[in-house]
């Protein structure tokens, strides 16, 4: 804890627009400017913001958007790999993939919980996902066509996610940072699993190696472009105007301690991680511009300009529609189950049901 900084609390932390109407602990502060000054002081002192702390509307909005998009990405991201659960080519791989998809469901749950501390409900966030009002990582709008895709997704997509997420373990909003610490540990394990899937294929028959290379060819761009967001620096491929816009968003987010690095910095870090791994594995990353730059101390690669970025999005593609349709169908098919859960809980709350106790063997205790 940071001594000396009083923490004005908002008793209303439900939604945007309440800042000016916030009910405050009596006599602590009396104006938004002062509240904001305290908020900034907490950030400056490296303190984490907690749900009951006052926070600017913009900060709350930016977090709700980012955390819920992240949660949705975990849930939609279960699909491309989940579809291979029934076809995993060995029982060992089947077990690893089951564990991974299960982890993703768990990450979605942590993140929805983190978002709920900002005063939104999971049901509303899911509705926003289903209606297309909120987005998920467009990476998952690409189809997983072969078994090797499960390896490429885990190695490249999760590998990119880890680079993105490691700094988020120290993001300024406490519940998000704590969720990310758990997520990151598991993601790092997934990356190794994905690498191992591809490594085994590369050690196998020529046909297996070809399957691995083909998957890497198809997943490289979605990972390097989409997992980090659009270019936000001129060096990263943005023109002056969009770089200025991107930089403005990134800078706002960085000033609030939500983000810690620009999209392009993180993208570079990812490329630097992955190129030596690809060499060891014996697959070629599908970018002829990749080469070590002694002067910069980084690998060069083709800039992800806006045209490339937009092309990689896959918005409105058959696969994008299918991902959302799959998710909506599961939700709608389960509506009667959720209604039953609510009805049963309401009956219990009303004391309408006598509670029946069962012993260890499932027999009724009379």
């Amino acid at each position: 804890m940071c001594a000396g900084i009083e923490r004005p609390r908002s008793d209303l932390f439900i939604c945007e627009g309440t800042a000016t109407a916030a009910v405050l602990d009596e006599g602590v502060v009396d104006g938004v400017e002062q509240l904001n000054a305290h908020f900034e002081a907490l950030l400056a002192a490296g303190e984490q913001i907690e749900p009951r702390d006052w926070m600017p509307d913009g900060y709350r909005r930016m977090l709700v958007r980012q955390v819920s998009q992240h949660a949705h990405s975990e849930i939609i991201g279960m699909q491309p790999e989940g579809s291979w659960l029934t076809r995993a080519p060995s029982l060992h791989r089947k077990a690893s993939l089951l564990a991974k998809v299960q982890d993703e469901a768990g990450h979605g749950l942590y993140l929805y919980s983190a978002a709920e501390t900002l005063g939104v409900s999971r049901a509303d966030l899911l509705d926003a996902l289903h209606s297309g009002h909120q987005r998920y990582a467009a990476t998952f709008n690409h189809p997983a066509l072969t078994w090797a895709d499960t390896g490429a997704i885990a190695w490249l997509t999760d590998g990119a996610a880890v680079v993105n997420q490691a700094p988020l373990c120290h993001t300024s909003y406490g519940p998000y940072a704590r969720a990310m610490r758990r997520v990151c540990q598991e993601e790092a394990f997934h990356v190794r699993q994905g690498y191992d899937v591809l490594w085994s294929l590369c050690q196998g028959t020529p046909e297996q190696k070809e399957m691995a290379q083909d998957a890497v060819n198809r997943w490289w761009l979605p990972a390097v472009a989409l997992m980090f967001g659009p270019p936000d620096t001129v060096a990263g491929g943005a023109d002056d105007r969009t770089a200025a816009m991107g930089a403005a968003v990134s800078q706002r987010s960085m000033a609030w301690g939500i983000k810690r690095h620009t999209n392009d910095e993180l993208r570079q870090r990812f490329v630097d991680n992955v190129v030596p791994q690809a060499e060891r594995m014996g697959v070629t990353l599908p970018d002829p511009a990749i080469r070590w730059n002694e002067e910069r101390g980084h690998y060069d690669f083709s800039p992800i300009d806006w045209q490339l970025f937009r092309g990689a999005l896959g918005d409105g593609s058959q696969c994008a529609r299918q991902r959302l349709a799959h998710r909506v169908a599961a939700h709608e098919d389960g509506a009667w189950v959720r209604e039953a859960v609510d009805a049963y809980a309401a009956q219990l709350a009303d004391g309408e049901l006598e509670s029946v106790e069962l012993d260890d063997e499932g027999r009724r205790v009379s």
Partner: protein, 257 residues
């Protein structure tokens, strides 16, 4: 490749294969439901249960392969048999319906398997006894999951009650096969290596009846009983399930995974 197995090992290999195939085929059915569950918690729970079942299948198949003298490993047995060589009960391959059907099947199998694994803890075969001790703990959770859902759906809304009863009615004719007796299980039971499942039936009926009672559902009285799985006589649903299961592996002969 190894010494000729004893008659008892051959029996035990076949018995263990039945149990391993049950777990494997049910795991396969649950795998297809992940991302399609009514809530994210349920996606997670179904994946978790499938993972436990897969662990059971792997142990049992590998053990069967050592007992029968062929030295076949878990993958050899899982992926490289013919449809007629699978020994799973027909309940496992039943085509998934709505969530109530999923829960009805889990209810039947979880109570059966918990009783079976607990009983096997006393097997004179050390490997099976150790397996029984571990697996019975894991399926306690599966049983709790199935029981709670059965009660929630049975007492939730009129629709959930109707669906849950329909799920039970659909699944129940497939329960009896789990408890069938034949010369093989009688021999192993007499030797103290295995448990004739028929001996578990009464207890199983008492347990599930108690759950259905709490759920205010009716214990189905099926007019017929499915059989054949232990002899490799499956339903038409099995071949497509198995084709999907091994589709990747078959496309890459000689592959390493």
């Amino acid at each position: 490749m190894t010494a000729e197995p004893t008659a008892e090992d051959t029996d035990l290999a076949e018995y263990v294969l039945r149990l391993g195939d049950d777990a494997l085929v049910l795991c396969q059915r649950l795998c297809a439901l992940v991302t399609r569950a009514p809530t994210i918690e349920e996606d997670l729970a179904l994946a978790n249960i499938a993972l436990d079942l897969l662990g059971h299948a792997r142990t049992l198949l590998a053990y069967s392969g050592t007992l029968d003298g062929t030295g076949r490993g878990e993958d050899e047995l899982a992926y490289h048999r013919t449809e007629r060589q699978f020994r799973s009960a027909l309940l496992m391959e039943l085509v998934p319906g709505d969530f109530a059907v999923t829960i009805a099947r889990q209810l039947v199998y979880a109570h059966y398997s918990r009783l079976l694994w607990s009983a096997l803890e006393k097997s004179s075969d050390a490997t099976l006894a150790a397996f029984g001790a571990r697996a019975s703990r894991e399926v306690e959770y599966h049983q709790m999951h199935a029981d709670q859902w059965t009660v929630r759906l049975g007492r939730g809304t009129a629709e959930s009650r109707r669906r849950m009863q329909a799920g039970l009615d659909l699944v129940w004719p497939y329960a009896a096969e789990l408890f069938e007796r034949d010369a093989l299980v009688d021999r192993l039971d007499a030797a103290g290596t295995a448990v004739a499942p028929a001996r578990l039936r009464e207890e199983w009926e008492r347990e599930v009846a108690a759950v259905l009672d709490e759920a205010r559902l009716t214990l189905p009285k099926p007019a017929w009983q499915a059989t054949g799985g232990r002899d490799g006589l499956h339903t038409e649903a099995f071949a497509p399930l198995f084709a999907e299961f091994r589709s990747v592996r078959l496309q890459y002969p000689g592959g390493t995974w």
